[in-house]
């Protein structure tokens, strides 16, 4: 049975951590189509987190088409590993690597990189909104 982890100091909301772990495990092949995710009660009891958080995470996974609930049986992975996503990520990863090398050459440290990404991400979000 798949087990989730929770990093209390990451600043990432617990429900997103669950969503991320499923996405990541799908990409890495640790989760496959047809696998059953642990019940809400099991996750809540295992991680000591609010069960509504788990419900919210599973709902998000269903919304993304990665998982689906079967009445009386639980929540199952419905997506095969996502090749399209994998391909896009490969290309993105390469350009990010290139960018990070340039940032390093320009003398930006980790913090500067993180701050810059946060600011730019915000600007991009604004573009989307307007």
């Amino acid at each position: 049975m798949f087990r989730f982890r929770l990093d209390g100091s990451s600043g990432v909301p617990p429900y997103l951590q669950i969503v991320h772990q499923v996405r990541q495990s799908l990409l890495l092949g640790y989760l496959q189509e047809g696998d059953r995710l642990p019940t809400v009660k099991d996750v809540a009891g295992d991680l000591a987190i609010n069960p509504n958080t788990v419900v919210k995470a599973y709902r998000q996974l269903e919304h993304e088409g990665l998982a689906g609930g079967r009445p009386g049986q639980g929540t199952f992975i419905t997506a095969a590993s996502v090749p399209a996503l994998r391909g896009a990520q490969g290309a993105l990863r390469e350009s990010l690597e290139q960018w990070l090398r340039e940032a390093d050459a320009a003398g930006l440290n980790d913090e500067a990189v993180t701050a810059l990404i946060a600011v730019v991400r915000q600007d991009v979000k604004k573009e989307k909104v307007s």
């Binding site: 209390g8 809400v40 809540a44 009891g45 991680l47 000591a48 609010n50 958080t53 600011v119």
Partner: protein
């Protein structure tokens, strides 16, 4: 399970203008809130803020001076067997009889509670390898806490009140205790109120918040909604308060910039419109700390404006 409203069902807890006076001092005043069933509520406040007063009225130990308090639609301080059976309570110091065995405590619980679930009580402690024949005084703090919790759960009360339940426990015992609580909530229609000083852990456990300071409710609502209604804004230092689109909960001025925790409403135009302003979402911890740190004057003046309906529209007019 949505917690945005009570969906027409009877609230697990509802208080209206609730107040408690001790002599000339008010321990709690004008407390109005409505908690939907199934919520896990974090009750936060400094010492003396009114937390214990509120908890004691919820469990029926104290009678209000003002206002009403209802647990699942029934007056909390009726002090009848039925009203006591509606609330399970785990006190901070886990009071149990030291010379009793765990089994003796359970028999006592059975004698005192009409809906006592002996199978549940036994299975909880057995799952944790606590032997029923052991005397309470020979148990560790963590085990005593688990026995207290098992007893509160075995009452089969729809509302569970935990007063600083893990304050005295070591990290492993804390985790085991909260695992048990969360699994129980997942398993049924249980509403939980947790009074806690551990602000950093609220996000993990709670989907509702009640923040008390100086005997008044400063913040109440579902966590998701409260996070949406607040934002952390970084603005140039010279920006006057009046230009900020919402109610200032906390403002930190640096030499050139200011960090402002702002309460906004959905109707408020996004603050991003301004050059040089930077908006970030707020974490539960930041939000709670900002309200706890609010000076008493600011807290109480905007309190009357917001009243007991924090999710209502913010009436402050945006000036620019």
């Amino acid at each position: 399970m949505t917690h945005d409203d009570t969906g027409g069902s009877v609230p697990a807890l509802r208080t209206t203008g609730l107040g408690k006076r001790y002599g000339r001092l008010w321990g709690l005043r004008d407390c109005s809130l409505s908690i939907p069933p199934g919520a896990i509520v974090g009750l936060v406040g400094s010492n003396g803020a009114g937390k214990t007063t509120l908890l004691e009225m919820i469990i029926g130990l104290r009678t209000p001076t003002d206002g009403q308090i209802e647990v699942l639609g029934h007056t909390a301080h009726a002090n009848t067997a039925e009203s006591l059976a509606r609330v399970g309570y785990v006190a901070q110091d886990h009071p149990l009889y030291p010379d009793f065995s765990v089994a003796d405590m359970f028999h006592l619980g059975q004698a005192m509670n009409p809906n006592w679930d002996m199978a549940l009580a036994r299975s909880r402690v057995e799952a944790l390898d606590i032997v029923l024949e052991r005397k309470i005084k020979t148990l560790s703090g963590g085990q005593r806490a688990q026995v207290s919790l098992a007893m509160a759960l075995a009452k089969r009360a729809p509302l569970l009140v935990l007063d600083e339940p893990v304050a005295s426990l070591d990290p492993v015992a804390r985790l085991e205790f909260m695992r048990e609580v969360m699994a129980q909530v997942a398993g049924g229609d249980l509403t939980v109120i947790i009074a806690s000083h551990v602000v950093s852990e609220l996000e993990r456990f709670c989907d509702w918040l009640v923040v008390l300071t100086h005997g008044h409710v400063q913040l109440v609502g579902p966590v998701d909604g409260l996070l949406e209604e607040h934002q952390m804004l970084t603005v140039p230092r010279a920006t006057p308060d009046a230009d900020l689109p919402g109610i200032i909960i906390h403002r930190d001025d640096s030499d050139r910039h200011s960090s402002v925790l702002l309460r906004t409403s959905p109707a408020t135009p996004a603050a991003q419109a301004h050059q040089g302003w930077h908006t970030e979402t707020v974490s539960v911890e930041e939000l709670v700390m900002a309200y706890l740190l609010r000076p008493i004057k600011a807290a109480n003046s905007s309190n009357s404006a917001r009243g007991a309906q924090p999710s209502g529209p913010i009436t402050k007019v945006m000036s620019r």
